[in-house]
């Protein structure tokens, strides 16, 4: 069949009966299911989960154990504040991610570049949480359990000099950070990997001759 005949079929296809205007109006009230809209909704859920869970734990450590572990609350408050900055950055990237009324190519370029930035930021922030938390707990354990004389590689004792303890914590931090990095990388790829690949594939085709 020649392309002109295709045109004929195509035009016949366009002669569709009128749809119910009421149905169209109802669609305007529905929520978008686009990846960016879903990411925005997930980010909001994440924010609320952090506010509720961190809020509860901050209160708990301020009150429990007669406030002896209030450092944990201060640390969590600090992480919570960092999360607000993290939320704002991610929200900004999501808002910049698409321009659907732009030309298809420029929208794809914008989406690909911003999504890659978003993924990088997600990976860095997610990985950085491990060493920051471990170093805090290293400090906390050693301050709070200074009097503990039982042998433990993570606490200083007469048999366990400070340099050994420091080395143990550093090794532990490095191992857990590397694990966190790969876990985050796997998770981010699972979430956005295929989408980025698809966008790049279409973009490469557009840019090629």
């Amino acid at each position: 069949m020649e392309l002109d005949q295709w045109k004929e079929i195509w035009k016949e296809e366009g002669e569709s009966p009128s749809n119910d205007a009421r149905k169209l109006k109802l669609l305007l009230e529905k929520k978008s299911k686009s990846p960016v809209a879903k990411m925005k909704r997930n980010l909001k859920i994440e924010l609320w989960l952090i506010i509720i869970s961190y809020g509860a734990m901050i209160m708990f450590y301020f009150i429990a154990f007669k406030g002896q572990l209030s450092e944990v609350s201060w640390f969590m408050l600090f992480i919570g504040l960092l999360f607000v900055a993290y939320y704002q950055r991610k929200n900004k990237l999501l808002s910049e991610m698409e321009c659907l009324s732009c030309q298809v190519k420029s929208n794809l370029q914008k989406q690909t570049t911003t999504l890659e930035k978003y993924i990088r930021f997600y990976l860095i922030a997610g990985t950085a949480l491990a060493p920051v938390s471990l170093l805090f707990f290293a400090w906390l354990f050693n301050v709070k359990r200074r009097t503990n004389t039982n042998y433990n590689i993570l606490y200083p004792s007469p048999d366990n000099p400070l340099w050994k303890v420091a080395l143990a914590w550093v090794v532990l931090t490095v191992i857990i950070t590397i694990l966190f990095y790969f876990m985050n990388k796997w998770y981010v790829r699972k979430l956005y990997g295929k989408h980025v690949e698809k966008l790049k594939e279409v973009l490469n085709e557009m840019e090629g001759d």
């Binding site: 295709w6 569709s16 305007l28």
Partner: protein, 164 residues
């Protein structure tokens, strides 16, 4: 209903055929097609306050519809399936329609689905009788490159048709 909404719905009603065609070209599963149609309408409505009429309404609509179809929806619920007549959209079905028309439509969609996402967009704009200038305005690909891609897509479509 606000006047803004009425104006929008009037425009959509007039151009609904174009949106349906985008959905048919990019989704083969009725559920996916419905989702895409809904998503395009939502995105058009969101972008409507920004439409100043600098470009034609159809150009603006195609940009949003194609952007939503290509980069908007992440995955299809199922792999593309061969278009059996009963899978065709309700609008294209008519009890009195000849079997021949159904067969032609089946062939038409199964040929188009074998093209890449970009080729589908280019062929669709060609079938809509869009000029290269308009295609460039919608897709953002320069006209020389578009001509090359168009010839390649047409050739591919011819080969697919011959094979079937």
């Amino acid at each position: 209903m606000s006047s803004k909404q009425t104006e929008f719905l009037t425009q959509i009603e007039a151009h609904k055929g174009m949106i349906l065609k985008v959905c048919q070209v990019y989704c083969w599963n009725p559920g996916d097609r419905e989702d895409l149609f809904q998503e395009i309408i939502i995105q058009l409505w969101k972008a409507w306050p920004g439409f100043r009429g600098d470009s034609k309404f159809s150009t603006w609509l195609y940009r949003i519809a194609l952007n939503t179809a290509i980069s908007g929806l992440r995955k299809q619920k199922t792999k593309m399936v061969y278009m059996e007549p009963e899978n065709l959209p309700a609008e294209t079905r008519d009890e009195s329609d000849a079997e021949e028309k159904e067969e032609r439509l089946t062939k038409f969609y199964s040929a188009i689905r074998q093209l890449s996402e970009l080729e589908r967009a280019i062929i669709m704009l060609y079938l809509e009788d869009k000029s290269y200038e308009e295609m460039e305005d919608i897709l953002g690909i320069n006209q020389n490159s578009l001509r090359v891609k168009m010839n390649r897509a047409k050739e591919k479509l011819r080969k697919i048709t011959k094979q079937s």
